[in-house]
Structures are given as structure tokens and as C-alpha cells.
């Protein structure tokens, strides 16, 4: 095992090279080792492994992977200890720029500039980045004090800076909700959270424990329509929106604040996947992947938030183990399973991952719904499999497990995933 920031301490060839050492990268490393890959390298551009977990200091991680509720840093450290025990090499301060065909991984490091290692297979695990103001085009001035919620999280939790004294949060995604509580605990006044949609984007638990507990108002169907201030933010204008999400300017009002946090979603940080020529899915913003999490570029796998934005680190780790397993198998000479079935998003399904599966092994199919269903819901995979759940919301990813025996009688090549009210099913039933 080598833990270094110096590429010259590395071997020149690895079975599997993993880009990004968040939970996805670490789990992929463990998956590849389990599958018999002898030499595995984990590369991250930061000074230490852990990814976004290091700044997520709140509890809420590990219920599935460690069977107890721990914080992000604890989750990262426990995982990293396993990675080191498994004799994985780790390069920090290393930025992966490209993967050439033939498996040459081009990387840049402050000490030697551009260099490279050869890889039998590669796993992309670069995570996601936050959408910024440009993505939603709020008119007005460009004062300081406007930033993404995740950047504020890093400033507060790692660097020890407070972004301001009086904050407004735009968007009710989990990062925004978590930051609302975080700021209150550090003595910052949080005036309110404004959400364009008619339902919160984050988990109920975060609405209760991060907003209600601290009497922070959540304004649904309301958005920020103006930003004012010369050098420093002084106030924002907010307005309710109509059913078509168009602001009703006649009802707009001003809110004094020196800080505006944007919590308007994450998008896969998939630039490198594009660079290597992987086919992308416009629905997820990440690469198209097979049942072993291989992209359309042979030998290049992907997992975690770079494929689709997950809400739980545990889901990320589970999916990344599959990718590590696939990469390890390929690098040690196993045959690639035939991807004979395509998965398509159907009724009320925003996207499905993976995009194809093979009928020879079990798969976990992950997807998100477009609209909440507040009652019994049927998650359906064409007519081969279905599962009933109590309710679904876009904030929580849902999964279906597909065992090979379910596909025994199936001879088509496309399966459709639907999420529909369970009562639809009884449409033809007697009302007795």
C-alpha cells in the first residue's frame, strides 16, 4: 500500500485506476480488490480522500452500510481504513485529465506536472457539482454574498468562515436545508427558505429537523426574482409563482439579507466522461452505463454521483461496488456479460440507472420519480416484476431488485419502469 501525493512513488501499471476518492471511488476500489484485481490505484485531486463526505458533518450516513447512523467524516474515515487494509494505492493532489484509448491515464500533479499510468480498466467516480446562479438566471446586481450552499458548507465546516449574518436560502434541496440549521447553530440568522415548487425538494426529515425545529419559514411556490446590493448583497426580491411557475410580480416583496445561498441542485461532474467519448444520458447528465456500470467506452466504468445524483452515500457505495467488481473482472480477463435488455423510463419516472442489464445476474435498478405520489405506489418493471411502496417523492431515489429468475419467461429486449398510484391497478375491480 502506498499513500502519496507524488506520482513517482506509484507503479507504472495498475489493473484498475479509479478517478475520485469519495464513497464511490472507495467502494469501487474495494469491489475491484474483492474481484481479484491485484493492483488498484485511487486518485483524488484533493489533499485527502473522502470527497464531499468530509464537509457533511451531520448524522445521516451509513444506516445501510454500517448499520448505524454516523456523520460524513466518520463514514469517510471508516471506509478509507478498509481501503488501506485492502492494500490499495492512493494518490492525492492528482488531477486526472484524460484516459486515452488503450488505458493510459493522464494525470497532473503539482510536483511533476503531467504524467501517466497504465490501467487495465478505469472507474470514473468524480461526483457531482452544484448548479449556480447562471443555471437559473436571476436578474439584478452581482454583489458578493451570493454563493452555492455547498460552497458555504465548505467555508463553514472546513475553513471556519461564516458567509454572513443574515441569510436567505433559495431552493429546498437537502444541502440548503442542512445549511439552514448549520448557520443557525453558528449564530447566523436565517430569514427563510424559498422554493419554486409546491413541495419541498429535500427529505421530510430535513424539513422537520432543519427548519421547523428552528422556526425557519419555508415558502413554497415562491422564488427569488431580484438581487440587490453594490458590493455586498443588501436584499433580495421574492415573489410567489403561479401554476406555470411564472412569478406574480404584483405580489413580490423585499427581504433584507447579506447572504443568499443557492440550493438548486447538483449535476454530475461528468466532463471527463465526455472527454473520453462516453455516450451521455440527457436525463441524468451522466454517462450511459451497463449492468456492470461500464460506460459505452470499453474498459471505462462509472459510479456514484457522476452517473446520477444520489441522496444517500450508502446507495453510492453499493452501486460503486458493482462498478469495481466489473472493472476488476475485466482487468483480470473475465468476459463481459452480454447486455441484452434495455431499461426505459416510463410513467412518472425521470430516469433509470443502469441503462442496460444482462439476464445472467441480479441487478439493482435505481430511479427517481417526477411527481410525488402521497399514497400506495406501484413500482413496476414492465410485466416481469413489481413492488408496492407507501409513497414516493422526487427527493428519494427508489430501487427495484431484478433477479435472473424474474427474466426467465421474458424474451423481449426492452423493459419499462413505471411508478404509478397502486389504486390504478384495481380500476377494473369490484368496489365491494
Amino acid at each position: 500500500m502506498v499513500l502519496t501525493a507524488e506520482p513517482r512513488n506509484l507503479a507504472s501499471r495498475y489493473d484498475v485506476v479509479i478517478v475520485g476518492a469519495g464513497p464511490a471511488g472507495m467502494a469501487a476500489a474495494l469491489g475491484a480488490r474483492d474481484r481479484g484485481a491485484a493492483r488498484v490505484l485511487l486518485v483524488d485531486r484533493e489533499v485527502e480522500a473522502g470527497g464531499i463526505l468530509l464537509q457533511c458533518i451531520h448524522a445521516g450516513f451509513g444506516l445501510h452500510a454500517f448499520d448505524e447512523e454516523i456523520t460524513g467524516p466518520e463514514y469517510a474515515q471508516r471506509f478509507f481504513e478498509q481501503v488501506l487494509e485492502q492494500d490499495v494505492d492512493v494518490l492525492t493532489d492528482g488531477y486526472v485529465m484524460d484516459v486515452a484509448s488503450g488505458g493510459r491515464v493522464k494525470l497532473m500533479s503539482p510536483s511533476v506536472g503531467v504524467t501517466g499510468v497504465d490501467a487495465g480498466a478505469v472507474v470514473l467516480a468524480m461526483g457531482a457539482r452544484e448548479r449556480t446562479r447562471g443555471a437559473i438566471r436571476i436578474p439584478g446586481d452581482r454583489p458578493s454574498g451570493v454563493m452555492t450552499a455547498g460552497l458555504a458548507q465548505k467555508l463553514v465546516n472546513l475553513d471556519g468562515y461564516l458567509p454572513g449574518r443574515r441569510a436567505v436560502i433559495l431552493g429546498s434541496g437537502d444541502i440548503g436545508l442542512i445549511m439552514a440549521r448549520r448557520l443557525v447553530l453558528e449564530g447566523v440568522e436565517v430569514v427563510g427558505v424559498f422554493e419554486l415548487l409546491s413541495h419541498p425538494s429535500g427529505l421530510t426529515r430535513n424539513v422537520v429537523q432543519c427548519l421547523d425545529d428552528f422556526d425557519i419559514p419555508l415558502h413554497l411556490s415562491t422564488t427569488v426574482v431580484g438581487i440587490h446590493g453594490r458590493d455586498r448583497l443588501e436584499r433580495v426580491t421574492v415573489a410567489p409563482v403561479d401554476d406555470d411557475r411564472v412569478p406574480i410580480m404584483a405580489k413580490a416583496w423585499d427581504v433584507d439579507c447579506d447572504t443568499l445561498l443557492l440550493s438548486i441542485g447538483l449535476i454530475p461532474d461528468a466532463e471527463l466522461a465526455r472527454t473520453v467519448g462516453a455516450q451521455m444520458d440527457p436525463l441524468t447528465g451522466g454517462p450511459v452505463v451497463s449492468g456492470t456500470m461500464e460506460t459505452t467506452v470499453p474498459g471505462v466504468f462509472a459510479a456514484g454521483n457522476v452517473v446520477h445524483v444520489n441522496d444517500l452515500a450508502d446507495w453510492v457505495s453499493m452501486e460503486a461496488r458493482v462498478a469495481g467488481d466489473g472493472a476488476g473482472a475485466l482487468a483480470t480477463g473475465a468476459r463481459r456479460p452480454e447486455q441484452d435488455i434495455r431499461l426505459l423510463p416510463g410513467d412518472n419516472v425521470a430516469y433509470v440507472v443502469p441503462h442496460t442489464i444482462s439476464s445472467d445476474r441480479p441487478h439493482t435498478v435505481s430511479f427517481r420519480v417526477r411527481r410525488p405520489i402521497h399514497g400506495p405506489t406501484l413500482l413496476r418493471l414492465s410485466d416481469v416484476h413489481q413492488r408496492k411502496v407507501r409513497a414516493v417523492v422526487p427527493a428519494e431515489m427508489v430501487t427495484l431488485k431484478v433477479a435472473p429468475r424474474l427474466l426467465e419467461g421474458f424474451h423481449g429486449d426492452v423493459l419499462r419502469v413505471d411508478a404509478i398510484p397502486a389504486t390504478d391497478d384495481r380500476a377494473g375491480e369490484d368496489p365491494s
Binding site: P73, D215, H219
Partner: protein
């Protein structure tokens, strides 16, 4: 305007319980956080004793409603100043959830604290935090750096 109602007294709920004249039965609303369904719970209570929980769709919700009314608890995570490490704050948390009403005061007490690296995951930075019976512990290792 909040999406979730604060605990409230339902109009007309101040009926006298026939079994014990004098004590008032009040009804309180909570939102169950157990799963995405987010059931709206109503808890009938008298003198702090829970008489009935309604509105849940599973047992977990009933337990949650009872606990939220009698003794709501929350885990607290925050950071404290650390000197001599690569980052300026070290993350900490209460070893167990603490009474909800004490979350802000414990966080305030931790704001004044300064510790020095090295620290190890599990190190106690504040024992029996403000009498809650719960220690506040460090959640990551931080080595000491030169300089």
C-alpha cells in the same frame, strides 16, 4: 408560512376527560419523518401523558409520535476550532441524541471551545455536555502539521 404545522391545540380539544375530571386533554400535531409518506400525526395527551396517537400508517409512526411528544431528541453536529491541523475546524457530534430544547445551548457552548491537533475520532471534547448525560466527541482524525 411553514410547510409543516407546529404542534397546535385543536379547537375543542380542551374537553374534560370523563375519567379524571379537571385534567385537560390536548391534541398536538407532528409530521412523521420515518419514511417519505410523511404521515400527519395527532397525539392526544393529558399532563404530559400520551393517551392516543392517530394518523400513522405503521407502528414506527406511532412510536415516533409518542417519543416526539414526551421527549423529543436530536443528534447535534457542529465544529470547533482546532489549531495545528490542515483545516481550521474539526467536526464534532453528541455521542447520543440530546433533548431538542438543549441543541442550541450545547452548540453555543461549543462555539467558544478551542482544541489542538492531533485529535482522534471518538476523542471527548466536552464531557456530559451541559448535564445532558451525553459526551461531545470528535468525528475525524486530524494529525498535527508542522508550522
Amino acid at each position: 408560512m411553514t410547510a409543516v404545522p407546529e404542534p397546535f391545540d385543536v379547537a375543542g380539544a380542551g374537553l374534560h376527560d370523563p375519567r379524571e375530571p379537571g385534567a385537560e386533554v390536548t391534541t398536538h400535531a407532528y409530521l412523521c419523518t420515518g419514511c417519505p409518506l410523511g404521515c400527519r400525526l395527532e397525539v392526544d395527551a393529558r399532563d404530559g401523558d400520551v393517551l392516543e396517537v392517530r394518523g400513522f400508517s405503521c407502528r414506527r409512526g406511532e412510536r415516533y409520535g409518542r417519543q416526539e411528544h414526551v421527549d423529543p431528541r436530536r443528534p447535534l453536529s457542529t465544529t470547533v476550532w482546532v489549531e495545528g491541523a490542515t483545516i481550521r475546524r474539526v467536526p464534532v457530534r453528541t455521542a447520543e441524541p440530546i433533548p431538542k430544547a438543549q441543541v442550541v445551548t450545547v452548540a453555543e457552548a461549543l462555539r467558544g471551545l478551542r482544541i489542538r491537533a492531533p485529535v482522534r475520532r471518538g476523542d471527548v471534547v466536552l464531557a456530559d455536555a451541559l448535564g445532558t448525560g451525553t459526551d461531545v466527541i470528535v468525528t475525524r482524525d486530524l494529525d498535527r502539521v508542522a508550522g
